[in-house]
């Protein structure tokens, strides 16, 4: 038989897609001459990725007019900003009201309004109130010559008077912690007068941090000071410790990053290939059989727990933020019962993971002697997943899930979902009561698709999962897509959405739909300036404004559909085992 011709492709390179339009040599010289870059020892950078290369490819220059919003509190962003010229204002907590940030606080419907939806819905899809769309509010949005969208607060003097703010000037930096930890931005920042900023995306910042000791010290110091303790205390392992022990642990904890921060971009490629090939691509955080040199805690992102099984690897569970790995082995070795054991499982970064590594001697000194009795119970068994965030160390809830289900959820990155729509096809009679209920609550527009990938009788429907790592929120120019304050649902403010589709393109699960909208008579609405149809981003909002919560779940007569937090594997296992 003739051999199939070999297929070759050009491997994508790191800088195939520079962050912004090319910076000129003069720009780069100017940047390198400014603090903090002027103080960086350029010889410490690898010849294949010099500081100059990093600036050229991972940075861009942005200009803002007075009042332009630069970042909003609650936004998710992966870049850091340096003030090149001018000053910016940081709004201190409690911060600006949602209306100024392009967001809407959902208003719960009254009983009467809920009922009236049944008959007062428009017949046609995507009908909007044109008066509401034609915005005249305290902010205005424009597109710059470079195609960037800017939203401006019109009365900044009033803002500075009414809200507590501080000023940052030339050479100062902001946004580094949110960018490095993928946490939401903590403050809103706007331009005061004309401002020029240098924005560096995360891989660039990560490289600079790795190469420049003073920069690393600065950023790590900030992180230790502001966030590390809170992150550690998210786990039950550290929750009970007193402040003194905690401050020792904080000082000795290492932080590490694995995988690709922009995982959503390469996600589809990652899902290809055999299970072994997929596993091979995931960076190893800790390897089965190695000495447990510390307790690992996932700070952000996800990780896969697996162990060797004949010629393959069996995925037994996955870990999200706050979960720990290696505790059972550490406990066993510390107690000195029987032979010391090595790690029973491997831990790999799924997409990307930020890991906190608390060295073994620190754990043995401060944590193990003080573990609550019921948590410390149990002994080591061969090749069991020992990692979990809630249950005792020896009683992993995840073991109730079949490995193929765990693998399916991990490989498709569904583990990101906090409200994933799961359908048990053995019970679903395909009656579409869920879609109809959704349409009733959304002006006759179902906001999900009763369709999706399957494993056995479990279907993950195409509905917004309200992700723990909401990549859809990266780069929304108007702040229209945001988390609801307090409850955390990811929603789109229809009034401020400009239809740019950044969120829809970012969503790796294809759960955001762009739609052309109509007026009450059913005519499509066009933009006054461009003449193009007005487009809006739409998705499941988890019925935030409905009194009863998600209508899909309540409308299913056959207990076939549920919105499930996939980080709670015990709840998932329970739901599946009914």
């Amino acid at each position: 038989m003739a051999e199939a011709p070999q297929r070759s492709i050009r491997r994508p390179n790191r800088w195939d897609q520079p962050f912004g339009p090319d910076l000129t040599d003069a720009d780069i010289e100017r940047i390198l001459a400014m603090a903090p870059f002027d103080g960086m020892d350029q010889s410490r950078f690898a010849p294949s990725a010099t500081l100059r290369d990093i600036i050229r490819n991972d940075a861009r220059l942005l200009s803002f007019e007075s009042g332009d919003l630069i970042v909003r509190a609650g936004d998710h962003g992966t870049s850091t900003f340096f003030v090149m010229a001018g000053t910016v204002r940081v709004v201190l907590p409690p911060g600006l009201p949602n209306t100024l940030l392009g967001r809407a606080q959902p208003q719960q419907k009254t009983v009467w309004q809920s009922l009236a939806q049944v008959w007062s819905r428009p017949k046609l899809p995507e009908v909007r109130d044109i008066a509401k769309l034609d915005l005249k509010t305290a902010t205005d949005t424009r597109v710059t010559q470079q195609g960037e969208t800017r939203t401006r607060i019109t009365d900044i003097d009033d803002i500075c008077e009414r809200y507590k703010t501080v000023t940052l000037g030339e050479t100062e930096m902001f946004g580094e912690i949110a960018a490095l930890t993928r946490a939401p931005r903590t403050s809103t920042i706007f331009a005061q007068g004309r401002v020029e900023l240098l924005e560096i995306r995360r891989p660039g910042i990560r490289d600079i941090r790795n190469r420049v000791a003073s920069f690393k010290e600065h950023i790590d110091g900030l992180y230790r000071q502001r966030s590390l303790e809170a992150h550690l205390r998210e786990s039950w392992v550290f929750k009970h410790l007193d402040n003194e022990a905690m401050s020792r642990i904080v000082a000795l904890t290492l932080f590490e990053t694995y995988g690709n921060f922009d995982w959503q971009a390469s996600f589809m490629r990652a899902a290809e290939g055999t299970p072994a090939e997929r596993l091979e691509k995931e960076p190893v955080i800790a390897r089965e059989g190695d000495y447990p040199d510390g307790l690992l805690m996932v700070r952000a992102g996800f990780a896969r727990v697996s162990h060797e099984y004949d010629h393959g690897h069996k995925t037994t569970s996955y870990l999200g933020a706050g979960a720990v790995f290696g505790l059972e082995e550490l406990l066993h070795n510390w107690r000195g019962e029987g032979e010391p054991v090595q790690l029973k499982n491997s831990l790999r970064a799924v997409g990307y993971s930020d890991i906190l590594r608390v060295p073994t001697h620190v754990i043995e000194q401060y944590v193990l002697p003080t573990l609550p009795e019921h948590r410390a119970a149990g002994s080591i068994k061969p090749a069991v997943p020992q990692a979990d965030s809630q249950a005792s160390t020896a009683d992993p809830a995840t073991s109730d899930l079949a490995p193929e289900v765990v693998e399916f959820l991990v490989d498709n990155r569904y583990i990101n979902g906090s409200q994933t729509m799961l359908i048990n096809l053995d019970r679903c009679v395909r009656c579409d009561a869920c879609s109809e209920a959704c349409a009733v609550g959304h002006n006759n527009n179902p906001r999900f698709n009763r369709h999706g990938r399957r494993i056995q009788s479990l279907m993950v429907a195409n509905a917004c999962m309200h992700c723990l790592d909401p990549v859809c929120m990266l780069g929304c120019p108007t702040g229209a897509i945001h988390r609801v304050e307090g409850s955390g649902e990811v929603v789109v403010n229809d009034d401020t959405c400009i239809g740019c589709a950044t969120c829809a393109n970012n969503c790796p699960y294809d759960n955001i739909r762009m739609v052309e909208v109509r007026d009450a008579e059913g005519r499509f609405i066009f933009d006054e300036i461009t003449g193009q149809p007005v487009v809006k981003s739409t998705k499941c909002d988890l019925c935030v404004d409905q009194i009863g919560g998600p209508a899909c779940q309540r409308a299913c007569p056959h207990d076939a559909l549920a919105r499930v937090d996939l980080s709670d594997t015990a709840a998932l296992a329970k739901w599946m085992g009914r």
Binding site: L115, C428, R430, G441, R554, R578
Partner: protein, 274 residues
């Protein structure tokens, strides 16, 4: 014990107790007041109204008035209790009189269609999951058209290149009607794959008459036939899960009207307590 098993046990126990209560209370009532059927009549009246109320719950899905699944549980077991109360009400006899006969039949049709419906739902949902891809019912006719077009393209290619009469004749005598629309409804409902099996056998026996190109086309056709059979299967089962409600729901309206007439008549001609 698993969640659904426990729920079924609790509900069945409750339904049996409720049925006993119906028997005991009606016996006591008849003995005390010597008025046959009035108590069970009113129990049935209330139950039928409550059972019909399920439709309203389904329409107002955004109000927090309990999950539809809890309502359905109440509906199914309430329906079974109503069925039992009906037999107690008519004294386990066939009612006489044309109106009474028709009215009783309507009730029985509603109740039995409900029982058949729930059984169909439970069985067919599982069977659907075990075979073929998940397809949305409304899209099936569109997919069928696409398969037919693909089959016709294969046939056209064969006619253009080899002009084989065998493939053409087979297509027009056996496949064109198969691809024309949903087929083999009943067969799929009762898990019979006779149609597919026959077609596959016939295609196998054609193979020896074809040249290499047409043999390849036959393989492609075979694949399309299998896909079409999967769609037929999904169409039949999903259709059945929808179809039974077209008996259950409209007859409920007839039942409600009949119930009103029956109640008025019975009270008008009862002449009060004896």
């Amino acid at each position: 014990m698993k969640g659904f098993v426990r729920r079924r046990l609790v509900n069945v126990t409750f339904a049996i107790l409720a049925a006993l209560l119906v028997v005991v209370s009606s016996t006591v009532y008849v003995t005390a007041i010597n008025q046959n059927g009035f108590l069970t009549g009113w129990i049935l009246f209330g139950l039928v109204l409550a059972l019909s109320g399920y439709r309203i719950r389904k329409k107002v899905s955004t109000l927090p008035i309990g999950r539809a699944s809890s309502w359905l549980q109440a509906h199914v077991y309430g329906g079974l209790i109503a069925l039992f109360a009906f037999f107690v009400h008519v004294g386990w006899r066939v009612p006489d009189g044309v109106f009474e006969g028709v009215f009783a039949s309507v009730f029985l049709l509603v109740a039995f269609s409900g029982v058949v419906g729930i059984v169909i739902n439970r069985i067919f949902a599982r069977r659907l999951t075990r075979r073929g891809e998940e397809v949305i019912f409304e899209r099936i006719p569109g997919f069928m058209v696409r398969l037919r077009e693909q089959a016709e393209e294969i046939l056209l290619a064969s006619a253009g290149e080899t002009g084989s009469a065998v493939l053409r004749e087979f297509y027009f005598s056996r496949l064109s009607s198969f691809f024309a629309g949903p087929r083999n409804w009943l067969g799929h409902l009762v898990s019979s794959n006779r149609t597919l099996y026959k077609l596959q056998n016939e295609m196998d026996s054609l193979e020896r008459y074809l040249n290499a190109d047409d043999r390849e086309r036959l393989t492609e056709l075979r694949y399309l036939v299998e896909r079409k059979d999967e769609l037929d299967f999904a169409y039949a089962l999903q259709g059945a899960m929808k179809f039974w409600l077209f008996i259950h729901v409209p007859l409920t309206v007839a039942l409600l009207i009949g119930m009103l007439v029956h109640t008025v008549l019975v009270h008008a001609f009862s002449g009060g307590l004896s």
